[in-house]
């Protein structure tokens, strides 16, 4: 990509017959870009990516994300000149690559948002357009022949029924793909797998394209990073470098990794505060820790990061965990084996990057196993155990039945919101999306009640 001047040739496939509507961003295009556009386009794409990121952390469902992406794209990425739309798409992508290539955490975020964007745009495309992308990737997978189809037909039908689809028919095309290429389909048992080969139906092809796109972009980011370090930063130090550096910090969505309001939670209040202001997931972990003097890894992460987010200082956190764990494993062992990870959560060890407290979505989608206590009680408790836990929080009568009703309909965050409202006697209009948000909202209400009591 040339900024202002334009001489270089590019290998961007302009002579291809099929031009897919979604570019694969294979190489920097030979385009002229004005400096203002360089920045403006990037900011607009960034709005899309942040919108997606925000939607995901709010626990939006796939179809909601789909709609979100569609809207965000329309608002931010259109251009009065229709012929410019594709250019804008490409330019903004390449600029953000520069911005986000420079640190591991940034790369990860960018990779995952761009992949989500790609995948959702792809779903909006026609099968023919998807097919065109398939050709462009040059994927070598073979379709199952008719003779072979007969031999695996029963299994394929069995999978179709298991994932709630009607049986496949002979005209559904299946591709034979190494299982490594479709990890998400394998993980959810959405494909038939035999001797390392996954049988991927036409309507699952997006999964393959997504994997391809992700791995392609991941490699490209590493390469961009090298180029940035070895030449671009220096060459562009008076022109692009300052813009690129400013862009990476230009927008921040809700971030609970640093305590914000009501910062500071001191150890002496912690039990009382836990009772009043922790959401059930954290309260359960907290009580289990007090009871067993131990939590397994998943529980330590979920509770530990939450506590960091609500303002428990590192020293206090160490004292808090030590007081419990040393009763089970001894102080010495705590210092040697657990203290490190707590400091790590606070960014004091290892890579020194902050870990972010988990959102409801992340907690709800976790899969606690035997001996684990993390997860979301609305999602992971049996109804009986949930009733007991809610009763302990003081939720009863009609409120309790409503919470149970929401839970049974799998609206876990709504159930949590109703619990919040029952416990606090106040409404929570935004709904619960993040345990730390629950906490902050609770503190806010407590505060205002206190103020009105003692004017």
């Amino acid at each position: 990509m040339e900024i202002v001047r334009s001489q270089r040739k590019s290998s961007f496939p302009s002579s291809d017959i099929v031009v897919p509507t979604i570019p694969l961003y294979r190489s920097t295009p030979a385009l002229e870009v004005r400096l203002e556009e360089f920045e403006l386009y990037a900011v607009q794409r960034l709005r899309v990516l942040h919108g997606i990121s925000d939607g995901l952390s709010r626990g939006k469902k796939p179809d909601e994300i789909q709609k979100l992406v569609k809207d965000l794209w329309k608002v931010n990425m259109m251009h009065p000149d229709a012929s410019e739309v594709v250019n804008k798409d490409i330019i903004s992508h390449f600029v953000l690559r520069l911005v986000y290539c420079r640190e591991e955490e940034l790369r990860k975020w960018f990779l995952s948002m761009e992949t989500t964007l790609f995948c959702n745009r792809l779903q909006l495309e026609t099968p023919e357009a998807q097919r065109a992308l398939w050709d462009e990737f040059g994927l070598p997978y073979k379709a199952v022949s008719i003779a072979e189809y007969e031999s695996v037909k029963d299994k394929l039908n069995q999978v179709a029924r298991a994932i709630g689809q009607s049986s496949s028919s002979a005209d559904t095309i299946f591709y034979k793909v190494p299982f490594e290429e479709v990890p998400d389909l394998v993980a959810k048992r959405k494909v038939f797998v035999q001797k390392g080969i996954a049988y991927v139906a036409t309507n699952q092809v997006i999964s393959i394209l997504m994997t391809q796109y992700r791995s392609h972009l991941s490699k490209a980011l590493a390469l961009t990073y090298r180029k940035w370090n070895s030449m671009i930063r220096e060459q562009e130090k008076d022109r692009l470098t300052p813009i690129v550096e400013a862009l990476s910090t230009s927008y921040l969505g809700p971030d609970y990794s640093q305590p914000r309001e009501y910062a500071e939670l001191s150890l002496k209040d912690i039990d009382q505060v836990a009772k009043r202001s922790f959401p059930l997931c954290m309260r359960h972990l907290f009580e289990k820790l007090r009871e067993d003097h131990h939590l397994k890894h998943g529980g330590r992460m979920q509770l530990g990061l939450f506590l960091k987010g609500v303002g428990l200082k590192l020293d206090d956190a160490l004292a808090f965990w030590k007081a419990e764990f040393s009763r089970k494993v001894g102080a010495d062992r705590f210092d040697k084996e657990y203290a490190y990870s707590i400091r790590h959560n606070y960014g004091k060890e290892g890579k020194r990057t902050d870990y972010t407290p988990y959102s409801c979505q992340k907690i709800i989608s976790s899969t606690p196993g035997v001996g684990d206590h993390h997860g979301c009680p609305y999602r992971h408790f049996s109804l009986e155990n949930l009733r007991v836990a809610l009763a302990k929080m003081g939720v009863g009568g009609r409120a309790l039945e409503e919470v149970i009703d929401k839970t049974q309909n799998r609206h876990y965050q709504l159930a949590c919101t109703l619990t919040f409202e029952a416990v606090h006697g106040a409404s929570c209009d935004a709904g619960v999306n993040h345990p730390n948000q629950y906490y902050i909202d609770s503190k806010r209400i407590m505060e205002s009640k206190n103020n009105s009591k003692s004017p």
Binding site: A162, V186, R189, H297, V329, Y355, P368, G369, N385
Partner: protein
């Protein structure tokens, strides 16, 4: 590597350490002690076989061999007083043997192969030091089945509950071979309360974390803990993998063995556990009514009651959603393998090496042949004291390698060599040769071009 992962590694290492000593169901003539262990390391530990394994053919003379390979493998020792040292590495059998004999580790763990020598990791940046290869591993513990066995709990096992491990091996082993196409799989008794599995195919060693997680989730069905009561929820009909596991292994095991060995229906407390899994009031109350009047019959009570339950659920009389799959759910809840998922998902998780000796039981962690896993009897596993006794008895007669072969460990070593190591090394050799040939071919092409 993130420290989160390091910490996971530690959790695993803690498994044997954390709980207090418990009485064993398996009788040990003599407890384990450090002197015994020293003698074991001096005379019996199969250094050469272990080193051959870890080298994966790279110790050969072929120009395609990667001489640095084995030295980039992380080994960790846990010493007598629970001091553990991570990120050790060994370049030769001699180095490995010397270190083990000198330090006499109570536990040896095997980690990943890294991009650079893990012992020198501090000389490299975070980014340059990353895991590049790792066997796909699984860890199954009988203590995770405490809610479905009534004979033992915690780390104890007996012949009534050990078959749960046997069916776990069958289900997972078949899936790894038939579904994922792996061939070089080693099952190992963990020395006390479970089994470990090492999948060693080149393709398995090179899986990334996302692909490992995908396989783990594919194999993972049991989702419960003490907070939830439905441990397995099936949305619709079974996926072919689960259908096969169910019809070929689990159903028969449950109906023909497990309901009797654990007397699953013998009293109210036990059968209530099963009724809890049926979400339809009318069914459970009908069954309760039937089972309350405890009239004697000639049939075994477990068999009779399981029969009632099945008949009622499958009669089609109750059409309620959610009960159609109940029979399968119950069987799977009780018998489906319960994996420790974290161990399998990350490349840099540590796992105890085969042929270690468990410090609490004195049992040697010997391989289990998945084709004959029902013959495996944990109480018959060679113990340190037994082996030393055999050595003393036969001591003057033989030397070196033979010494090992003549003990009761001999059978395990022979199995390890002939059924696991030899075929593995053969395919490693082929892989090294063919990838070398492909490389030279490629460079020729570039030259001519």
């Amino acid at each position: 590597m993130t420290m989160e992962e390091v910490e996971n590694g530690r959790d695993d290492m803690l498994i044997d350490g954390i709980e207090p000593k418990q009485n064993q169901n398996i009788e040990i003539p003599e407890e384990f002690n450090a002197n015994y262990l020293r003698a074991y390391y001096a005379k019996l530990f199969p250094y050469t076989d272990m080193f051959k394994w870890m080298s994966y053919g790279n110790d050969g003379r072929h120009p395609g061999c990667d001489q640095s390979y084995v030295g980039r493998r992380e080994i960790s020792f846990t010493l007598e007083n629970d001091i553990y040292t991570r990120f050790l590495s060994f370049n030769s059998i001699t180095e490995l043997e010397k270190a083990i004999k000198e330090k006499c580790p109570f536990k040896i763990d095997i980690g990943a192969v890294y991009s650079v020598d893990p012992a020198k990791k501090d000389a490299y940046s975070q980014n340059a030091f990353t895991p590049v290869e790792r066997e796909l591993v699984f860890d199954i513990d009988i203590s995770d089945y405490d809610d479905v066995r009534f004979c033992c709990s915690g780390a104890n096992v007996c012949s009534q509950c050990w078959p749960l491990m046997t069916v776990a091996i069958k289900v997972i082993d078949t899936a790894l071979r038939d579904d994922f196409g792996f061939n070089h799989i080693l099952w190992v008794y963990s020395g006390r309360r479970g089994v470990h599995c090492w999948v060693c195919d080149g393709k398995a060693r090179r899986l990334n974390n996302e692909q490992r997680a995908a396989i783990t989730e594919y194999l993972h069905v049991y989702k419960g803990n003490e907070n939830s009561n439905k441990k397995v929820s099936l949305m619709g009909p079974l996926h072919p993998f689960l259908a096969r596991s169910y019809t070929e292994v689990l159903k028969d095991f449950f109906e023909e063995k497990f309901i009797y060995s654990q007397e699953l229906f013998s009293n109210e407390e036990r059968y209530e556990k099963i009724l809890e899994m049926i979400p339809e009031e009318s069914v459970t109350s009908e069954l309760r009514g039937k089972w309350l009047d405890n009239k004697r019959s000639r049939d075994d009570v477990n068999m009779a009651r399981w029969g009632h339950l099945k008949q009622l659920l499958q009669s089609g009389k109750h059409k309620a959603q959610g009960i159609r799959r109940c029979v399968e759910e119950i069987v799977l809840s009780f018998t489906y393998p319960r994996l420790d998922k974290e161990v399998s998902k990350h490349m840099n998780h540590l796992l105890k090496a085969p042929f270690c000796v468990h410090p609490k039981t004195g049992h040697v962690c010997i391989p289990i042949d998945p084709n004959h896993c029902e013959e495996f009897d944990p109480s018959a596993v060679p113990t340190l004291s037994k082996l030393l006794e055999e050595l003393n008895r036969g001591g003057l007669r033989s030397e070196g390698e033979d010494e090992l072969e003549n003990t009761s460990l001999g059978k395990s070593i022979r199995y390890f060599r002939s059924s696991f190591l030899q075929p593995l090394l053969k395919s490693c050799k082929e892989e090294i040769e063919s990838s070398y040939a492909a490389k030279t071919q490629q460079s020729k092409n570039t030259l001519s071009w």
